[in-house]
Amino acid sequence: MQSQPRPKPEKAEKQINYNEVPASIRRRPYYIVLPGLIILIGIMIPFVTAITLSLTNFSFKIPVTKFVFLKNWINLFTNKDFYQALGVTLRYALFATGTQMLLGTCAALLLRKDNWFSRLLKVLFTFPLMVAPAIAVLVWQLMTSNTVGVLEDFLNLFGVYNFPWAASRQTAMFTAVLIDTWVNLPFVILLVLAGIQSLPKSPFEAAQVDGASSWFTFKTLTLPLLKPFMYIALLFRLMAALQEFGIIFALTKGGPGNTLMNLSLTGYLTGFTYQNIGKSMPYLLVLWMIVNISAKFIVKRQRRLTLEAAGKQ
């Protein structure tokens, strides 16, 4: 088919002389980007402040602040507690995000059928999202109490008494992740479910006509098409899990011992409880770097997967 020639404009386009444009119109593009610029400055001020503070001995206990240059950073990298906190941060993020992604995807796949039961479950699943994490921890603390908790009563039925939950080094991480999963699993389910419902129908109909098995369809169609959505859920959950503070603080304040002392908690404790802001900043900046690098990697991968799913790569 021949393409239609583009009609020529009746009059030649007039050359714009920018000097003749009123100043108010010339400034308009700058006004358009101004809110973005202000927001960017708003974001950057605390960030630059944090970097500056990390180079000082700023403390609520010392009236005069001095520059100590890299002393806080050297202290950080030579401190055993930092590596312990780094390990806890990564383990917690891996464990929590992995559990939530796995369970969330499975639950979303089970809920994709549109019937009254799945509709009811979708509503019920949103309830934990409405609970603040600190409140969720309070509820779970009561539920897991060895003296008044309903879970203790339940376990007693199976002959298990005084299950230690967050009180033991062996089960503290499990308990924190359990609460985190209770609060955040619905987010993953809803996001992946939204992805499932937006998938194109024709490839699945074609696979059905060709007699493809359920597993084959899942492996070669559902999963690749769903991956961009899963990566979005992964991005949000991983970032939050790396920065987790509320659940761990309310549950055990990082204990027993240093079992749950992650970078957020160590930074907070150093900065506020110990009132040593200068020393705490490197912990939080390292955390920021980890979150930033992880997020960039996931976003890049998500973009590639989106293009692949659209058949553009």
Partner: protein, 458 residues
């Protein structure tokens, strides 16, 4: 004639009372700061409830406007620290404990109240305040120096010392008597193992990963073993947590937790410990004397907990019968921001809410424990009110003279006590081969934390 005489006497008495009270009013100008406004930061506490209920009367008396904020304890000190460090005087008065005041005064955020104490209403009666509680809030700012000298950093609103609360119903049923020594305590713990089913235990004590675990029964026992947290050597603070006394005490404490403690001990704050005593899950509580009180009230026939009315108090156990029971101190105090713009008005507030009349109201009408004034402790109405808490006043009287802050004041208090609690958790969970190994590792950490303190600079 008799009638005339008695009438004359009555008139004379009334007149003299009017004149005397008029003189007293005239002697102190409560309206001196009329029109000023002060901001007061409260933590959520029975003391705050009592004060807030009387603020209107204070405003009417002085013409000072009071604005308040009440914050839960978990976030309270973060908020106060931020407000004080801004140096804007955004709060004029704030509730605090002595330990926090060591930090705040080191940074110059706290007003010394010594000179203000000379400007009090004639009926204030400073000497009537429990003097050891007042002394606990006095410090000269030199790390390693004990409290009791130097700047008056605050005035007490209430305080607590440490004793053994126990369930007298269970003790009677089992034929037990309150333990007086450490050996007896261990034996009673053994006898009370799972006394009320598998989820019950003998002794509730704190174990959470914060300073709160160290300062109540633990620190009192630590001192009763003859252990000390620091010593000054060559103008440096040196931790003595690895001393023989400290190791012996910690071995005892770990055994106590193993034999009698809660299965989830490492999560326990004052709240869980007290609640378990009230719920009938713990048979004893070694904690603040007023912690068990909250579980034992029966107000208008309504019990505060399942075991309300069954809780009694005894003096804390010691090494051998007859030893002096040394108790640590905690005071909820009110301090003045050094950067306040309304210090005069703030002082009026502080004075009003630590005076005799208010102290009596707070503890007799309201439920502010322990009372800060000797006159309240001796008041028949208070004694009558506390009769339902058997042994509470007796154990107080037996302990108060040997109660003081047992920690060495120093600006890294929260670092050292948090690490202390974390190490204690690790020792109990078997992370160290022995108690000694754990305490030696802790000593190293603490020495590092305070290494920058050079006492020759003070």
């Amino acid at each position: 004639m008799k009638k005339l005489l008695s009438l004359t006497l009555c008139v004379a008495m009334i007149l003299s009372m009017v004149v005397v009270s008029g003189q007293a009013e005239a002697a102190y100008d409560w309206k001196k700061h009329e029109g000023e406004t002060i901001q007061v930061a409260f933590v959520e506490h029975t003391t705050a409830t009592a004060i807030i209920s009387k603020i209107k009367e204070f405003e009417e008396l002085t013409g000072i406007t009071v604005e308040t904020s009440v914050t839960p304890e978990a976030n309270y000190f973060d908020k106060v620290t931020a407000a004080l460090s801004s140096k804007t005087g955004s709060i004029d008065l704030f509730m605090s404990g002595a330990y926090q005041l060591w930090d705040y005064s080191t940074a110059g955020y706290v007003e010394d109240l010594t000179s203000y104490l000379t400007d009090v209403a004639p009926d204030y009666d400073f000497e009537d305040l429990v003097q050891s509680a007042v002394a606990a809030l006095r410090w000269d700012g030199v790390p390693g120096h004990s409290v009791g000298d130097g700047a008056q950093l605050g005035l007490p609103l209430c305080f607590e010392l440490y004793s053994l609360a126990y369930n007298k119903r269970i003790f009677a049923e089992k034929g037990l008597t309150p333990p007086k020594t450490y050996d007896e305590l261990l034996a009673v713990c053994e006898a009370l193992k799972e006394w009320n089913g598998r989820d019950s235990y003998a002794l509730a004590i704190r174990g959470a990963r914060d300073w709160g675990t160290i300062h109540p029964g633990y620190m009192s026992t630590f001192a009763n073993f003859g252990a000390k947290d620091f010593e000054i050597v060559d103008n440096k603070l040196v931790s003595r947590l690895d001393s023989a006394e400290s190791i012996a005490m910690n071995e005892f404490w770990v055994k106590l937790i193993e034999v009698g403690g809660a299965p989830s001990w490492s999560k326990y704050t004052w709240y869980e410990a007290g609640a378990d005593l009230g719920a009938g899950k713990a048979a004893m509580l070694f904690d603040a004397d007023n912690n068990g009180i909250t579980q034992n009230w029966i107000k208008d026939g309504v019990p505060a907990s399942a075991e309300a009315g069954n809780i009694a108090w005894a003096v804390m156990p010691v090494a051998k019968e007859g030893d002096t029971p040394y108790s640590n101190y905690w005071t909820w105090a009110m301090a003045m921001n050094g950067n306040s713009d309304a210090k005069g008005a703030a002082w009026y507030f502080l004075q009003y809410f630590t005076n005799k009349e208010f102290a009596s109201y707070a503890s007799i009408t309201e439920y502010n424990m322990d009372p800060i004034r000797t006159s309240v402790w001796e008041d028949p109405a208070f004694i009558e009110k506390m009769k339902q808490h058997e042994g509470y006043i007796d154990s107080f009287n037996a302990t108060i003279d040997s109660t003081s802050i047992l920690f060495t004041p120093q600006p890294e208090f929260f670092v050292t006590t948090t690490e202390w609690a974390a190490t204690l958790q690790d020792i109990v969970s078997g992370q160290y081969a022995s108690v000694e190994e754990g305490m030696k590792a802790l000593t190293e950490k603490i020495n590092e934390a305070v290494s920058y303190i050079d006492l020759s600079n003070y």
